[in-house]
Amino acid sequence: MQRFFATILFSIIGLASADAQAGDPPVLTVYTYSSFVSDWGPGPAIKKAFEAECACKLNFVATEDGVVLLSRLRLEGASSPADVVLGLDTNLTAEAAATGLFAPHGMDLGALQLPFAWRDADFVPYDFGYFAFVYDSTKVKNPPRSLADLVGGSTGDKILIEDPRSSTPGLGLLLWIKQVYGDQAPTVWRKLKPRILTVSKSWDEAYGLFLKGEASLVLSYTTSPAYHIIEEKKTQYAAADFPEGQYLQVEVAGVTAHAPHPELAHKFLAFMVTSKFQNVIPTTNWMFPVAPVTGGLPSAFPSLPKKSLMIAPEDVAAHRKAWVDEWLAAMSE
C-alpha cells in the first residue's frame, strides 16, 4: 500500500524535475550565502578565475545565510545537486560532519595561516574574521565601550542583529554572549531585546538596513570599516572594540558525500587556498585570508583583536539546539 501511494504521489509531483542536458561542459554546483555571490562580493571574480582553469562551468546557488545552507542540505539530503557547500563556519562544522553528508577533503592544510592549528578532516577554511558591532561615528556619539556597556547601555541606540537560526553572524553573537555570560545569557538577551530593531535572517539584510539608517549599530565584523575606507573613502565607520574579546569565525567549505562531480569539487577546494582565490577575499568578502595574499593586506585592514573568543565546535554541536531554544524563549517574551 505504501509503495502504491508513494508511486502516485511521486508521479504527480515528479512532473517538475528537469534533467541536465548532455554534451555541455560539466557544471560544478556550489551552495553559498547570498552576500558571497552579490555583484560586489567575491563570487563573480572567483567564478571567472576557476572557470579559466577547470574546463567546467561554476554555478553558485545562494541561500540567505550560512546556517540556512546546512538546513537546506539536510532538507535535500543525499539527492542534493550541490557539489560544494561554501560558507559554513566553525560553529557548524561538527554538526555538519555528523550528518554524514560531507566527504573528507584529504588535503594537507598545515601551511594555512589561521589563529589556531587546523585539524578538521571534512572542511577546508577559506577566510576568518571577528564579530563586532559597527556604527557610524558621526551619528553615534557615545559608542559602547564593552559588551557589558552594550547590554546595559541607554535605550536610545537601536541595534540590528541576525537570527542565529539562519545566519552565522547571528549564531556567532549567541555564542559570544553565551561564552561571556554563561547561564546569565537569557537575562542578557532580555535586557538587549527592547533595543533590537529587528532580527534579520541574513547578514546582508541587516547591513542593508544599517546603511539605510534604520538603526545605529549592526552586528558585523571588525573588518567592515575597511570596506567603507577603501570602496567609499569614508572613514566615519568604526567597529566597537570590546575588552571581553571579539568572537572568532572561521568560514569553511566542504565537498558533499554525494557530489555529482567529486573530482571537480576537490579541485575547487584546492583552488580555494591558492592565491588566486585568497587575493580576492580581503577586498570583496572583507575577511582575513587564510594564506598570504599578493602585496599584503590593505593598510585599512585592522590588526587582529587583542583577545578573541571561541567555543569548541563539538560543544556548540552538543548545545546549539538548547541554546537557540533558550534564545527563542528569551526573545519572544
Binding site: L75, E76, P81, T198, A329
Partner: protein, 537 residues
C-alpha cells in the same frame, strides 16, 4: 437520485465501483494524503507532545498568533461597521460604484504585494513617513512588529467586511424604512432597532472568518514581524523548517495550527455565509436619518478616509512600479523565468483543484451522498499551506522522496488549498443542475460525456470559470508553499518580491509587484471570460 427502487443485482458493487471510481478515487486519495500528512506530523513530533505548552517559545507563538488575529478581526469589524453604515446612508454619490469595486480588489491581491505597498507608504522611505516627519512626528521603526501586521491585515479585511455589512444593510426590507420614517426615528434608534438586528449575524461570521484568515497569515507576519517575538504559527513553521531544519518543532507547530484552524472551522461552520455577491449599486432607500448636514459630513469623512486607506497602497504600487525601475526588471531573465514558473504551477494547481472537485461532486451525486464528498473536498480548509507543506514534506521524506520535486509539491499544495473554494462555488450549481435534469437525462438515456456536453457543461460553465480564475489567482500570488519548497532557481514572482524586499531593493520590488498584480488580475479576468463565457452584465 432514486436508487432505492433499483434491483440490487450481484454485480451492483462492481458496477458502482466502475461508474464511481473516479470520484471515490479522488476522495480516497485526498483522505490518504491529508491523513498521511497528519500521521507523518504526529510521528515526527517529539514524544512528549503532552507537555508542549511548557515550551515558552511555542506558548508565546500561539499567544501572539491569537492576539494579532483577534485584534485584526476586532479592528477590521470596528472600522468596517461605520464605513458600511455611511455607505448605506449615502446611496448615491459620484464614485460610489468605483469605491465598492476598489473594496473588492484586496481579495485577489497577493499578500506580498500588499506588504510592499505598505512598506512603500508607511516605511522609513515612504512618503507618509516623510509627511509625518515634516509635521514633526517621528514614526521610527513602527512598521516592524504588531503595528505593521495590523495595518496590513486591516487593509485586507476591512474592505471585505464593509462590503459584507453593506450587503446586509441593503437587504433590510423597505417596509422597515417606511415605518422608521413614519416614526421619525433618529440615527441612534435606527441603528439599535433596525440596522444592528440585520447586521448581527453577518458581524459574527465576518469576525470569525477574518480571525481565521489572520490566524493563518504568513507573508505579512514573516515580512513585517521582525523577530521571533512577532512570528505567527505559519511563519514559525517556515522558520523551523528552513532556518533550523527542526522537524520536531515544525511538526508540533503544524499540529497546533491544524488543531486550531480545524476547531475554528467547526465552530464557524454554521456561521459561514456565501461571500456577498451584491455590490450594493446605489439602491436608494428612504432612510429617515440622512437629512442632517452634520451626519452628511461625518459620513463623507468616513467614506473618504476608508477610500484613502484602501486606495493609497494600491496607488503606491501603481506609481512606484511604473517608474524607471521597471526597465531592468522587465529586462531580467529571472523575472520571466519566475513568470513562467508561476504560470506553470498555477495551471497545474488549477487543473488539480477543478478536476478533483468536479470528480468529487460527480461522485457525490452518483452515490447519493453529496454531503460526504463536499466535506472531504472542504477538508483542506482546515489546513494551511505551511502546515500542509510541513506534513507533506515529512511524509515525502519518510517515503524516500526528495526536494527535487519542490515545484510539484507547490502545485499540489496550491491545488489542494484551492479545492474547497471550487467546491463552494461549483457544488450548488451542480446540485441545482442535477435536481432539474436527472430525470430527463435518465429517460432520454443521456449519460457521461454527452450529458456534460449537452446539459451540465453549459450550465456549470460560469461557476467553473469563476472557480478556476480564483484558484489561478491564489496560486499566482501564493508565497507560503513556494517559500517552503522554492529555491533561487525555482522562484516565482512572490518569492522574488520577498527577496527584493528583504534586500531592501524597493525599486525592484515595486516593479515586480506591479507586474505580479497585472499578471494576477489579467489571468483572473482571462480565465473567467474564456472558461465562463462573456460577461452577461
Amino acid at each position: 437520485m432514486a436508487r432505492g427502487d433499483e434491483r440490487i443485482a450481484p454485480s451492483f458493487v462492481l458496477r458502482v465501483w466502475l461508474n464511481d471510481m473516479p470520484g471515490v478515487a479522488v476522495a480516497s486519495f485526498l483522505l490518504l494524503l491529508l491523513g498521511g500528512a497528519l500521521a507523518a506530523l504526529i510521528a515526527a513530533a517529539p514524544p512528549d507532545i503532552a507537555n508542549i505548552f511548557a515550551d515558552l517559545y511555542l506558548r508565546h507563538v500561539l499567544l501572539f498568533t491569537t492576539l494579532q488575529a483577534a485584534l485584526s478581526a476586532l479592528i477590521s469589524v470596528a472600522l468596517a461597521l461605520p464605513v458600511a453604515r455611511a455607505l448605506a446612508r449615502r446611496g448615491r454619490f459620484p464614485g460610489r460604484t468605483l469605491l465598492l469595486r476598489l473594496f473588492g480588489l484586496p481579495m485577489v491581491m497577493p499578500a506580498i504585494v500588499a506588504v510592499f505597498a505598505i512598506v512603500a507608504l508607511y516605511g522609513e522611505s515612504g512618503w507618509l513617513h516623510w509627511l509625518l516627519a515634516k509635521m514633526g512626528l517621528s514614526t521610527g521603526g513602527f512598521l516592524y512588529g504588531l503595528s505593521g501586521i495590523l495595518i496590513a491585515h486591516v487593509f485586507f479585511n476591512m474592505p471585505f467586511a464593509a462590503r459584507a455589512f453593506l450587503a446586509a444593510l441593503e437587504a433590510v426590507p423597505g417596509e422597515s424604512w417606511r415605518l422608521a420614517s413614519q416614526l421619525g426615528m433618529a440615527s441612534g434608534p435606527v441603528f439599535r432597532l433596525i440596522e444592528w438586528p440585520a447586521l448581527r449575524g453577518t458581524v459574527a461570521s465576518v469576525a470569525g472568518l477574518v480571525f481565521m484568515l489572520c490566524f493563518a497569515s504568513f507573508a505579512i507576519t514573516l515580512t513585517l514581524g521582525g523577530g521571533p517575538a512577532w512570528a505567527s504559527l505559519e511563519a514559525a513553521i517556515y522558520q523551523a523548517l528552513r532556518y533550523d531544519f527542526d522537524l520536531g518543532r515544525a511538526a508540533v507547530l503544524a499540529l497546533v495550527q491544524l488543531a486550531v484552524s480545524g476547531a475554528l472551522l467547526l465552530a464557524l461552520h454554521r456561521l459561514l455565509l456565501p461571500a456577498p455577491v451584491s455590490l450594493g449599486l446605489g439602491r436608494a432607500m428612504a432612510r429617515p436619518d440622512v437629512a442632517g448636514r452634520g451626519g452628511a459630513i461625518v459620513d463623507g469623512v468616513l467614506i473618504a478616509l476608508a477610500g484613502l486607506y484602501v486606495g493609497l497602497p494600491m496607488l503606491s504600487v501603481a506609481i512606484a512600479g511604473s517608474s524607471a525601475a521597471m526597465v531592468p526588471v522587465l529586462g531580467a531573465a529571472a523575472t520571466w523565468k519566475a513568470v513562467g514558473i508561476g504560470l506553470g504551477v498555477a495551471a497545474a494547481a488549477t487543473m488539480l483543484a477543478i478536476g478533483g472537485a468536479l470528480l468529487l461532486i460527480a461522485g457525490g451525486q452518483r452515490l447519493a451522498c453529496p454531503g460526504a464528498f463536499q466535506f472531504i473536498g472542504s477538508l483542506p480548509l482546515a489546513a494551511s499551506p505551511l502546515a500542509l507543506g510541513a506534513g507533506l514534506f515529512v511524509l515525502l521524506t519518510r517515503l524516500g522522496g526528495s526536494l527535487e520535486m519542490g515545484l510539484g509539491l507547490v502545485a499540489l499544495i496550491n491545488g489542494l488549498m484551492g479545492m474547497p473554494y471550487v467546491m463552494r462555488v461549483v457544488a450548488p450549481a451542480a446540485r441545482e443542475a442535477a435536481e432539474r435534469h436527472d430525470r430527463l437525462c435518465a429517460s432520454l438515456d443521456i449519460r457521461g460525456w454527452n450529458r456534460w456536453r449537452l446539459i451540465d457543461g453549459p450550465l456549470l460553465r460560469r461557476p467553473v470559470g469563476l472557480a478556476m480564475a480564483l484558484v489561478a489567482a491564489l496560486s499566482l500570488g501564493d508565497l507560503g508553499a513556494i517559500a517552503l519548497f522554492g529555491t533561487p532557481e525555482t522562484a516565482t514572482l512572490p518569492l522574488l518580491i520577498y527577496q527584493q524586499l528583504a534586500a531592501y531593493r524597493l525599486d525592484a520590488a515595486a516593479a515586480t509587484s506591479l507586474l505580479l498584480v497585472v499578471l494576477t488580475f489579467g489571468c483572473f479576468i482571462l480565465i473567467e471570460r474564456l472558461v465562463g463565457g462573456p460577461a452577461h452584465d
